[in-house]
């Protein structure tokens, strides 16, 4: 008997196996089509922008293409002393080309990111270069402005030669590649990004901690009080949540400033002297107070939703088995709330790490965070590649924390509601 006859056929003569596969494929396509819009949405709103950010942060083709001759001539230059005439000549030829295409403005913007001071000298060079004579370009260019005779500016140009670069990431850590290719820190009086990263992390960490300490009892009360009280309490939590962020920030300023309501009260009851009012605003204290209050609901709500599901009989059982209230709480209640704690802490931490309006308004000298710096480069200098690099650094920081959390607690243990 041949194997042919063994095959089971459907009524229209197609082998059953084939027919089944066909039907299955159809279903798979249908299922895929069903999720396709969501997939597309994720691609467009999430994967694509982040990919674009990543590309932007390392892509430096533009300058490479603008100064092809210069970079070729610079290959032989060791980058220590001022380059030779041939580099100057190549630069002049590239530059003339750019001026003809009206692209020298873009070049000046780009070079200004690497070293400040390029904008004005390129404008000057454009004006003067029209009347340049042939030959001896080194002297002619150097006579335009003294910065053109400064080797640091030529080193800065050389830095932009590679089409793909990690310099923006180095810059985000206050480092750069010097002329001999070593990675070194920038001058002490300009080291600011590391300070800002640490400050951002510090503020986000403490705000999360304070939120947790305050939200836990509130959420517990909300979950255990009888309905008529807990509803009122819930409104107290939600009302500020619905109030504009700026209004809440401004109210804290009015309350806590040195001539503010709280200080007036302290002076009135004689707690502090009139000329010795404590400073509670325009410093870190102000940031902590205002941010904790603003982010509190994000901690209360997940905690509440988890606590609501914990049966009160569990605590009673723990106590009846001989545990003191503290032991019963610690061994039974607390572990059950961990999914809520995880969700709340992650939520608050991630929101806090990207915050900037509140600390900028109430934080005083230490009110600038890394997100202010990102916004500055997005809006003002238009150095989007540097802003992207810092944005990605921030994102990978958050992902790292997420990873650590997953290792310690387990991500399945998160519960938002």
């Amino acid at each position: 008997m041949s194997s042919e006859t063994n095959k089971i056929l459907t009524t229209d003569g197609i082998p059953l196996e084939v027919s089944l596969k066909k039907a299955e494929r159809k279903n798979k396509i249908k299922a895929f089509l069903l999720v396709a819009p969501l997939l597309l949405f994720l691609l467009i709103t999430y994967v694509f922008p982040i990919g674009d950010m990543l590309l932007r942060s390392v892509d430096d083709k533009m300058v490479t293409e603008m100064l092809p001759k210069t970079f070729k001539a610079m290959e032989k230059w060791d980058g220590k002393e001022l380059p030779e005439e041939e580099v100057f000549e190549a630069f002049y030829l590239d530059f003339r080309q750019l001026v003809d295409e009206k692209r020298e403005g873009k070049l000046s913007t780009q070079l200004n990111y690497t070293k400040n001071g390029f904008k004005s000298i390129i404008k000057k060079l454009r004006r003067k270069s029209k009347s340049f004579e042939e030959g001896n370009y080194k002297e002619q260019i150097m006579s335009v402005h003294k910065r053109w005779a400064n080797v640091e500016y030529w080193q800065a140009i050389k830095q932009r030669a590679p089409a793909i670069t990690g310099q923006k990431y180095l810059k985000g850590m206050d480092m750069y590649k010097n002329a001999s290719g070593e990675i070194v820190s920038v001058n002490e009086d300009r080291r600011i990004h590391r300070v800002l990263w640490l400050r951002t992390l510090e503020i986000a960490f403490f705000v999360t901690l304070f939120c947790f300490l305050m939200a836990y009892p509130i959420a517990h009360l909300l979950a255990t009080l009888p309905m008529k009280y807990s509803n009122l309490l819930m409104i107290c939590v939600l009302l500020p949540f619905w109030t504009s962020l700026l209004v809440r920030t401004a109210s804290w300023m009015i309350l806590l400033q040195q001539q503010g309501v709280v200080n007036d009260f302290f002076v009135w009851i004689g707690l502090v002297g009139d000329d010795n009012r404590p400073e509670m605003m325009f410093n870190k204290t102000g940031s902590y107070v205002a941010m904790t209050q603003i982010l509190l609901p994000f901690m209360v709500l997940p905690l509440y939703s988890v606590m609501k599901t914990i049966s009160p009989s569990l605590m009673r059982a723990g106590k009846s088995l001989g545990g003191t209230p503290i032991v019963a709480f610690w061994k039974i209640y607390f572990p059950l709330t961990i999914p809520g704690i995880g969700a709340g802490c992650l939520l608050v931490f991630i929101l806090a790490i990207g915050y900037y309006i509140t600390p900028a308004l109430v934080g005083g000298a230490s009110g600038t965070l890394i997100s202010n710096q990102i916004a500055f480069h997005m809006k003002s200098t238009l150095d989007w590649s540097f802003a992207s690099a810092m944005g990605l650094m921030l994102l990978s920081g958050v992902l790292a924390i997420y990873w650590v959390y997953n290792k310690i607690v387990g991500i399945d243990n998160i519960k938002l509601g």
Partner: protein, 373 residues
């Protein structure tokens, strides 16, 4: 009934789409400032030309327009920007370059537009709109004596108490040097020459540091324009730098006990730029509206509502002839202008080229200094 309401909805939608398609979109900072622009020259221009003008608020910077351009969907025509942004945006090719005297009308006496404006434009893409001042003010109830000079702002012995200063380096370095004894020179040229050197920057930073760490002084950093008058009125600080229009609003508009000091003020400008490839760029409507909004008479109009000086010299004459020019009908506006002769005895012009050149590095140094406070 239902079909009728649906039809009405469709018609109103169609109308709103078509009007906004025909309207010239002008983007500005919002609040009292946009109000002064709208009442001062926006509405009259729209009426005279028959081109509707659509006002949109933004919070400054070029990121939105750059994003619009990259996405290929430009919806803005005219933007009200800082000087530095006109330079950066022009270099990026975002804005239209003007043929100044051809594109903008001469003064009534025939002076060409380029001569009628107070100074030359920072870039080919800019046309002046208002001049404002970074001056300082004090609370008359909390300060004994009368501060008169920029040195007094830093003099904590004579005038003890906290000061409010702007959160970034911009203008702070300049006033620090002016108070430290450097004569600004013509338009502040000497100050900027000093700031070109490391030594000058250090000197300015030290002066600020000294003020902020002084137990009799101390600093509060403001970031929003509404803050300085508020900090003064609440008594949180005794003196504050700020924008003169805001101080004027508190002093004259609301009767707050504050007084402005013009010595060592920094004159700064707002500009209009026209977006290249905007919806009304090719048909010429944007330029037509812009050119009318910045003529002598129109620019004077906005000073009726806010204490910022019109860019054109010829506008001042119109205001003088019309005093009291302020909308309350009793306040003379010319003496309130940052450009008034009695206010410009010792001043500097905020140099956009300097800040476009050095803004990032000085900003980093400034933040590093602040972190050490």
């Amino acid at each position: 009934m239902k079909t009728i309401s649906k039809l009405l909805l469709a018609i109103s939608f169609a109308i709103s789409v078509t009007t906004s398609a025909f309207a010239v979109t002008v983007v500005s900072w919002g609040g009292a400032y946009t109000e002064s622009q709208k009442l001062g020259y926006g509405d009259p221009t729209a009426k005279a030309l028959g081109i509707p003008i659509n006002w949109v608020d933004y919070s400054g910077g070029l990121s939105e327009i750059k994003a619009q351009k990259e996405a290929g969907a430009i919806t803005w025509d005219i933007i009200d920007v800082f000087a530095m942004d006109t330079i950066n945006g022009c270099d990026e090719g975002l804005f239209v370059e003007f043929d100044f005297d051809k594109d903008f009308p001469a003064a009534p006496d025939g002076t060409p537009a380029s001569k009628d404006f107070f100074t030359a434009m920072p870039s080919k893409c800019a046309v002046g709109n208002i001049l404002y001042s970074w001056n300082y003010a004090y609370n008359t109830n909390n300060v004994k004596g009368t501060p008169k000079t920029i040195k007094d702002f830093f003099n904590t012995k004579k005038f003890p108490g906290k000061r409010a200063i702007y959160k970034s380096a911009l203008t702070n370095l300049e006033i620090a040097l002016a108070a430290d004894g450097i004569k600004p020179g013509k338009g502040g040229a000497k100050i900027y020459k000093a700031l070109e050197t490391e030594k000058g920057v250090e000197r300015a930073m030290n002066k600020i540091k000294e003020l902020c760490t002084d137990p009799k002084g101390g600093c509060v950093f403001w970031s929003a324009g509404a803050q300085p008058p508020e900090l003064l009125v609440s008594g949180e600080v005794v003196m504050a730098t700020g924008w003169n229009g805001r101080f004027f609003g508190a002093e004259v508009g609301e009767g707050a006990p504050i007084k402005q000091v013009w010595d060592g003020q920094g004159l700064d400008y707002e500009y209009f730029v026209q977006v290249k490839g905007g919806p009304n760029d090719a048909n010429g409507k944007a330029l037509k509206a812009l050119s009318m909004m910045t003529n002598t008479e129109m620019l004077a109009g906005s000073a009726k509502y806010i204490a910022y000086a019109p860019w054109r010299k010829s506008s001042i004459a119109i205001m003088e002839a019309g005093e009291p020019w302020y909308k309350d009908g009793k306040t003379n506006m010319v003496p309130q202008m940052p450009t008034a002769p009695q206010n410009t005895k010792n001043y500097f012009l905020v140099d956009p080229v300097f800040w476009a050149d050095n803004g990032t590095e000085l900003g980093e140094k400034w933040e590093a200094m602040k972190a050490g406070l």
